[in-house]
């Protein structure tokens, strides 16, 4: 890959020098803007409040106070909030995967007559951003139609709406469409039922797309802020993202920064572990947010 800088010009001494300089400067800039804030947060988390004010540019505090992390974890209840976030992520992931897999399977393999209409209606929701229907979604969760129950302040209020993600259905259906149809026929000849077909043939073959949907779901629900803020009013049940905004007004600066570091560690670990898939997933997701 040489792009707009061609092979011939890359052989020229001057171009090589210029390219090297640009690349080196870019790398330095990327380290500063990518890793810099994270490093600064880690440094701030183990500094004392006085040091943060008297010597703000110190690269590392005189005496690192690692205890700040356990103070944040216990005293600020960050442990509880992180656990809350874990539950929220887990449930949202399960619901999203379930809805996407069943809908994708029905639309792509079983193909009932109303399928195309349902698919159209699902895709149409992509054109209405959820911030726009947030108010009425809130009124819906406090009084579910037909059931008449109030699921606000429970994680169901986050889990269930998370499933209404048109993009997941689009990804799953698109992937299932590309699977060889002969396999399904063969399975049927062998006497496999519908459920068996999904569980033993379609899903095992669809691991790549299930991984993409899973990563999108996990990353997104860990980052989500506005909907949990609206749906979960009970401070004891709030995820870390919402709790941090409350803590920001009360906690000592150094412990608050420690809490922020604890909140960003899980997604960064997931990113480190699945970097390849996440970056590749961008190809699938294209221009969708």
């Amino acid at each position: 890959m040489s792009g707009f800088v061609s092979e011939t010009s890359r052989r020229r001494q001057r171009t090589r020098g210029a390219l090297f300089t640009v690349h080196a400067l870019t790398l330095i800039a990327l380290v500063l803007i990518g890793l810099g804030p994270l490093y600064w947060a880690a440094k701030g988390a183990v500094s004392s409040p006085t040091e943060l004010v008297t010597n703000p540019l110190a690269l590392w505090p005189g005496d690192a106070r690692w205890g700040n992390f356990s103070l944040a974890w216990d005293d600020l209840q960050v442990g509880r909030y992180v656990l809350n976030s874990f539950w929220i992520v887990l449930g949202s992931w399960a619901v999203q995967l379930f809805v996407a897999a069943t809908a994708g399977f029905a639309l792509s393999v079983l193909r009932p007559r109303i399928g195309p209409y349902v698919y159209g209606a699902i895709l149409a929701t992509m054109f209405v951003p959820y911030t726009v229907s947030m108010v009425s979604l809130f009124l819906t969760i406090i009084d579910l139609p037909f059931l008449g129950i109030n699921i606000a302040n429970t994680y169901w209020a986050i889990w269930l709406p998370a499933g209404a993600n048109a993009f997941n259905v689009l990804l799953a259906k698109g992937f299932f469409d590309a699977l060889p149809g002969e396999l399904f026929d063969a399975a049927k000849v062998d006497g496999a039922g519908t459920w068996r077909l999904l569980w033993s043939i379609v899903l095992p073959m669809s691991r790549p797309i299930l991984a993409v949907i899973s990563l999108l779901a996990v990353m997104h629900s860990w980052k989500d802020f506005i909907w949990p803020l609206v749906a979960i009013a009970d401070p004891q049940k709030q995820p870390i993202a919402v709790a941090l905004t409350v803590l920001a007004g009360q906690a000592p600066q150094d412990q608050l920064i420690a809490a922020m570091v604890l909140a960003l560690v899980p997604p960064v670990i997931v990113f480190l572990a699945f970097q390849r898939q996440i970056v590749a997933g961008l190809g699938f997701t294209g221009v969708k947010g």
């Binding site: 890959m1 040489s2 792009g3 707009f4 011939t8 690349h23 870019t26 790398l27 990327l30 943060l52 703000p56 540019l57 619901v95 809805v99 069943t102 809908a103 029905a106 393999v109 079983l110 193909r111 009932p112 349902v118 699902i122 929701t125 209405v128 951003p129 726009v132 229907s133 108010v135 009425s136 809130f138 009124l139 819906t140 009084d143 579910l144 139609p145 269930l160 709406p161 499933g163 048109a166 469409d177 399904f184 026929d185 049927k188 999904l198 802020f225 506005i226 993202a241 905004t245 920001a248 922020m260 960003l264 997604p267 990113f271 970097q275 996440i278 970056v279 961008l282 969708k288 947010g289």
Partner: protein, 315 residues
């Protein structure tokens, strides 16, 4: 581009034939239809309750007065009248447009330039991509709180650093003049990574022969960028720009966590106003009315935009 148009129809035909044959054979069993409905049920229930109904209901309650007890009465255009009587609406629209404008001004060229540089990198490409995407995985609330600390006029990182080279101190979030710019800088940092990687993928996909042909014709580096690379990226650029517009219009986390809409309402955006009406004042009708107008504005903007860029990419 050309290779894609050659291969696509045949692939599509094959897939279509395969699908048709598959559904013919499967449909033989009448149970199939029932099973299909059964497997569609989760999606129908979930989308019905949490997507389709809220969208319809949003439209309905913007003409109603609704309270938490579940009682609602039709009030005609009262919500819209109250909305337009609120002097904050104009401010919020202006602020949102300012955020969008600054966001495009800074956040549109930056990823394009960064991606072009990255497309010429041969060694350590993975390191560059990792560093570029890292800010995207940080939860937005954490990013905002982190930057709030950096912006601190007392002992914040930015003023301390700029002070070393004799600049500032700047008020950042504290002044109505610079608050919005501060929000845009953070949100560009936080959101740029994905855009860079999408541009990068598109740039890598440009056939090398195009550059070679241009070079043989005597095109220099800038001409190769301007006349070969950018035209090849037209569709991607057009889509990402629209995506950025739609996203920035709905900005919420930044103003809510950074400033709460201040100072002097300088960062009160449309979405913040919807949030205030609905969830702080319990005025659901008025909130839904504003949300409805926002949806209308977004749809209108997208339609105009798509129309404009379609003719632009034809020419």
């Amino acid at each position: 581009m050309t290779t894609a148009t050659v291969t696509r129809p045949t692939e599509e035909q094959a897939a279509q034939q395969g699908r048709a044959a598959r559904s013919r054979r499967w449909r033989a069993g009448g149970r199939r239809e029932l099973a299909g409905l059964l497997f569609l049920l989760p999606a129908i229930v979930i989308f019905g309750l949490f997507a389709w109904w809220p969208i319809v209901r949003g439209l309905i309650i913007s003409f109603q007065r609704t309270d938490l007890m579940g009682t609602s009465e039709w009030v005609g255009l009262d919500n819209f009248q109250a909305l337009f009587a609120d002097p904050l609406l104009g401010t919020a629209v202006q602020n949102t447009l300012l955020f969008v404008g600054l966001g495009v001004l800074i956040g549109f060229p930056a990823p394009l330039i960064l991606a072009s540089v990255l497309s010429t990198v041969r060694r350590l490409g993975g390191v560059y991509r990792f560093l570029v995407y890292l800010p995207v995985v940080i939860p937005p609330v954490v990013s905002v709180l982190l930057w709030k600390w950096f912006y601190d006029p007392g002992a914040g990182l930015f003023n301390e650093l700029l002070g070393k080279v004799g600049l500032g101190p700047y008020p950042w979030l504290e002044s109505p003049d610079t608050a919005m710019l501060s929000l845009v800088l953070e949100s560009t940092w936080a959101g740029m990574g994905g855009t860079v990687l999408i541009y990068l993928a598109a740039m890598v996909g440009i056939p090398q022969e195009l550059y070679e042909a241009a070079e043989i014709d005597g095109a220099n580096l800038w001409q190769r960028i301007w006349h070969v690379m950018l035209p090849q990226l037209r569709t991607v650029i057009a889509l990402l720009l629209l995506w950025q517009l739609i996203n920035t219009v709905q900005v919420f986390t930044e103003p809510y966590v950074f400033t709460g809409g201040g100072p002097q309402n300088a960062t009160t955006t449309v979405l913040l106003l919807i949030f205030r009406y609905g969830f702080q004042q319990g005025n659901y009708g008025q909130a839904a009315a504003l949300a409805f107008l926002l949806a209308l504005a977004l749809a209108l903007m997208s339609a105009v935009y798509l129309r404009a860029t379609r003719s632009w990419s034809k020419s």
